[in-house]
Assembly symmetry: C2
Amino acid sequence: MNPKEHPIEGVVLQPLRVFEDERGAVMHMLRVDSLLFKRFGEVYFSEVRPGSVKAWKRHTRMTQHFTVPVGRIRFVLYDDRPGSPTAGSLSEIELGRPDDYRLLVIPPGIWYGFTGLAAQPSLVANCADLPHDPSESENLVWSTPLIPYDWKGRNEF
Amino acid sequence: MNPKEHPIEGVVLQPLRVFEDERGAVMHMLRVDSLLFKRFGEVYFSEVRPGSVKAWKRHTRMTQHFTVPVGRIRFVLYDDRPGSPTAGSLSEIELGRPDDYRLLVIPPGIWYGFTGLAAQPSLVANCADLPHDPSESENLVWSTPLIPYDWKGRNEF
């Protein structure tokens, strides 16, 4: 399986293997010998309750490697990088089993956010190439007018 | 939080931080600057259906770093390493939220297996220090008489 370039420059979607048996599936995420691996920084999880939104975030140095081993997540990406061939592009990507279990690679400079689509809490795993460092990321509130995306009333409880 | 030595020589249990908010928790797993990090090999997931057993496995070179971000898992460890100060020891360890979200480090040479205790499928994450290599692991069937542990009828569907 070769990594697929995504419509936003530098973003990659990689199909991942899932091995099902009656006890429960084994799911790949990332290996040191993957073409998409640069270096290890930190692996952590973000649980997303149904309908809640975690947005927006942008990193200056860190690359994200996301999978969704439980539930279903819609990621929204926005490219406002000056000089990017895809500047101004907005993209929605859904990850989840069984048909969309993939690795989503987001390079620095892209705004991203996500929302939980499953009836139960979903789980996002991130294997980032740097450990968490608040000095290299920026946040905007989910409802900012600076990004042309409408979460349609999500994040209200 | 300092890593705690476990009763089996070389096994470590490390408390991990969980940051709860109304959208869903963020859960730490492993950072490159952790005292428990040696090198990155592969990160993957193992889903465990209620009552099913995944056992037994032993690695000759690989160290496992397990967390349970969803559900609840009982790990069972058995030390039959010749010359180990804890040879002959058997240990049960439960991981899961909210009170037992921890990192379990299992060095090479220890037999281990696990079972799902939650009503829904549980998720085991493993950040191993080597990529998967079938030549460096051994398996025994879950009901082997070679390990003095009774899974009590689990693994029957």
